[in-house]
């Protein structure tokens, strides 16, 4: 057992699990909208092509560009086509961006690309992979972070610096990157088919910068993030944030097309202050195939990350339980859906806590049972 990881994960559990319980107790409506969300997500999965089409129409109506990518390579080509020669890029934490290996590809091409979520930035400078979908750097202790920042960013910071000073130093660095960025790339926590809106939830304020300051905003997400209406999209982000332990969330960003103004004779003029281009790339990458399979329920997952802390295998193996960024119980499902990787399912002990805490009531152990079978049978 890795002692450093054991300490880190137990601290995270202690900080997170009681907090989530308190949020759910004080706001009983959240469980109701979670149930509602499960129903609408199932409805979308039953009619996925129809909802993708509807999303496309809605995005175009807002003046945005819609792209459907069959796989990671196709998504990457679309990104390159949109970015062209632009070099300065800021990105916000997204598992789908890892799925298409966005940062690796951009770095290979010599682009100046920076993660702007603090945890993800730390993972980037540590040349590492995330250990949790929502909290990517929980495996890094404050000491380690101090050393990292000292080596990579600011000689005034070290392992004895306060967390406040560490954050301040990163903030200063990223502020320059935001102001210079030509392209902002984000994921999406939900996409409303009826309005073409992309919703993003956060606490740091980085996503707000990423989506507003650069002239181009590209949102890349899985087709599983589409929900029928803007109301459903709000429900999804509220449920996700609450089950991740953040309620109320500091920021909910809604993007429906590029920036615009109607201040001159109420005539719509685009762009205004924000981006002049908005692109939504929705990625299939195994998801449609999964809809028609025995692991379909994987796609109901909203990636709140709560299941990680109820899982003995994650507590033992950390990010080795799954294929990063898709780790933990939900990561076993997403690794199967998007990478067709099944081996780590064998490390599941069917403890079942994951099922108990899942807001979408996914019977995760039963899905993993099917993934184990795929591994054995393949």
């Amino acid at each position: 057992m890795n002692y450093e990881w054991d300490v880190a994960v137990n601290k995270a559990i202690l900080n997170n699990s009681p907090k989530v319980n308190k949020i759910l107790e004080e706001n009983p409506y959240i469980k109701d909208i979670a149930d509602e969300l499960r129903n609408v997500k199932n409805k979308v999965l039953d009619n996925i092509d129809e909802y993708i089409e509807k999303t496309e129409e809605s995005v175009k109506k807002t003046g945005g560009h819609f792209h459907l990518a069959k796989n990671a390579d196709e998504a990457m080509s679309m990104v390159k086509e949109i970015i062209k020669e632009r070099t300065k890029i800021v990105v916000s934490k997204s598992n789908v961006l890892y799925e298409i290996k966005l940062r690796d590809e951009m770095e290979k091409e010599g682009k100046d690309i920076w993660e702007t979520d603090l945890g993800e930035y730390l993972v980037q400078i540590n040349k590492d992979m995330p250990s949790h979908m929502v909290a990517p750097a929980i495996h890094l202790t404050k000491d380690k972070i101090g050393k990292l920042l000292n080596e990579d960013l600011d000689k005034n910071i070290n392992e004895n610096s306060s967390a406040e000073d560490m954050v301040k130093s990163v903030r200063k660095f990223l502020m320059e990157k935001y102001l210079a960025a030509e392209v902002g790339i984000t994921g999406a926590n939900s996409v409303a088919a009826d309005t073409g809106s992309v919703l993003l939830i956060e606490n740091e304020g980085n996503i707000r910068m990423d989506t507003v300051l650069p002239e181009i905003h590209i949102a890349i997400t899985g087709i599983d993030k589409i929900v029928p209406t803007l109301k459903d999209a709000f429900n999804e982000v509220i449920v996700q944030a609450s089950y991740a332990g953040f309620y109320p969330p500091t920021y909910i960003n809604v993007t429906s097309g590029p920036s615009a103004t109607g201040d001159i004779e109420l005539q719509r003029v685009s762009p205004a202050t924000g981006p002049k281009e908005f692109h939504l790339i929705v990625l299939d990458n195994g998801r449609k195939e999964a809809i028609n399979s025995e692991i379909r329920d994987s796609l109901l997952c909203i990636r709140c990350g709560r299941c990680y802390f109820s899982c003995p295998s994650y507590k033992l193996y950390g990010k080795d339980f799954g294929d990063s960024p898709y780790t933990g119980p939900t990561g076993i499902m997403w690794s199967a859906v998007t990478m067709k990787k099944y081996d780590k399912a064998m490390l599941c002990m069917h403890s079942g806590g994951c099922k108990e805490v899942c807001p979408m009531k996914i019977d995760i152990p039963k899905v993993i049972e099917k993934i184990k079978f795929r591994y054995i049978d393949s």
Binding site: P18, I371, F373
Partner: protein
């Protein structure tokens, strides 16, 4: 963590072949393991069913450690036959398991339940196949098992451990299996004393949703329970590490040790309901008891 797929596949083939030939996952001295019962009628519509889990729980790890050797040395399966005489629980382990089964039998009788027993003809449940993801083999063996129960006129099975209960209940998800399966904890009421922390069986408490019913019975029995949300709740309670032992014995033991430490931080007396949980946790806990050892 490296997963040895060829070894797992060989293990699957070996277990499956054994089951299809003898209703046992590996050679077992069924006469010995059924000798705890002498006065239960043989067979009948309702049977008391052990699947040998309590009796062999103490030697499972030894069987598990045999698999890598069999795989490495490519030992023919038939040579495993001798293992039933070589790998046996010690007399204390065997006596303890017999006493637990007798206690469960006694509780069922006091609750006016009538049942028979299959003695040394009792087949294994197939739990190992299901829990390892060997689903095709689980289905195939399930059909054979169903026919066996039908041919013997069995309509209701009273199970005594979580793995067997889960395996038999889950058959209906895969095949026609219209035999009533019920766990003894759903049938009996009991009395007890003492102060304990429960280590839940993951299968009982979460897979089969018995968390509350078990606690209600224990709380009503006179036993006092200590709880800690992060350690014993339905959401946060954790595994004993047992299911991992086929993949990595060391990792399985790490989980067992860590789980034991957490339980001991709640109470020094630990209550379990599964023979495998007992085996995995007992090296690290002085006072650990099966529920059937502390109630009557």
């Amino acid at each position: 963590m490296e997963i040895n797929k060829p070894m797992i596949k060989k293990m699957k083939d070996m277990i499956f072949q054994n089951l299809m030939e003898s209703y046992l996952p590996f050679p077992l001295d069924t006469k010995l393991y059924s000798s705890w019962a002498t006065d239960i009628p043989e067979g009948g519509e309702t049977v008391f069913y052990t699947s040998y889990m309590y009796q062999i729980s103490g030697i499972l790890k030894r069987y598990e450690s045999l698999f890598p050797k069999i795989y490495k040395l490519n030992i023919p399966r038939r040579l495993m036959t001798a293992s039933k005489f070589l790998i046996k629980p010690n007399s204390d382990e065997l006596e303890r398991s017999f006493n637990i089964l007798k206690s469960i039998k006694s509780m069922l009788l006091k609750n006016n339940l009538k049942f028979g027993y299959l003695y040394d003809k009792e087949p294994y449940s197939g739990a190992l196949l299901l829990e390892s993801g060997f689903l095709n083999e689980y289905k195939e063996y399930g059909k054979k098992l169903y026919n066996f129960f039908n041919e013997n006129g069995i309509k209701r099975i009273i199970t005594v451990d979580p793995h067997t209960t889960n395996a038999l209940k889950r058959y209906k998800d895969f095949i026609d299996f219209d035999i009533d399966v019920i766990n003894y904890l759903d049938l009996v009421n009991f009395k007890g004393t003492g102060n304990y922390v429960i280590h839940d069986s993951c299968l009982y408490s979460r897979s089969m949703d018995m968390y509350n019913s078990i606690r209600n019975k224990i709380n009503g029995s006179g036993i006092k329970l200590n709880e800690n949300y992060l350690i014993t709740s339905k959401e946060m309670g954790s595994c004993c590490g047992g299911p991992l032992s086929l993949i990595s014995n060391k990792d399985s033991e790490d989980i067992s040790k860590s789980r034991a430490e957490k339980l001991l931080s709640v109470n020094e007396n630990v209550l379990v309901m599964c023979p495998l949980c007992y085996q995995n946790l007992s090296p690290y806990i002085n006072n650990i008891k099966d529920i059937a050892e502390v109630v009557s």
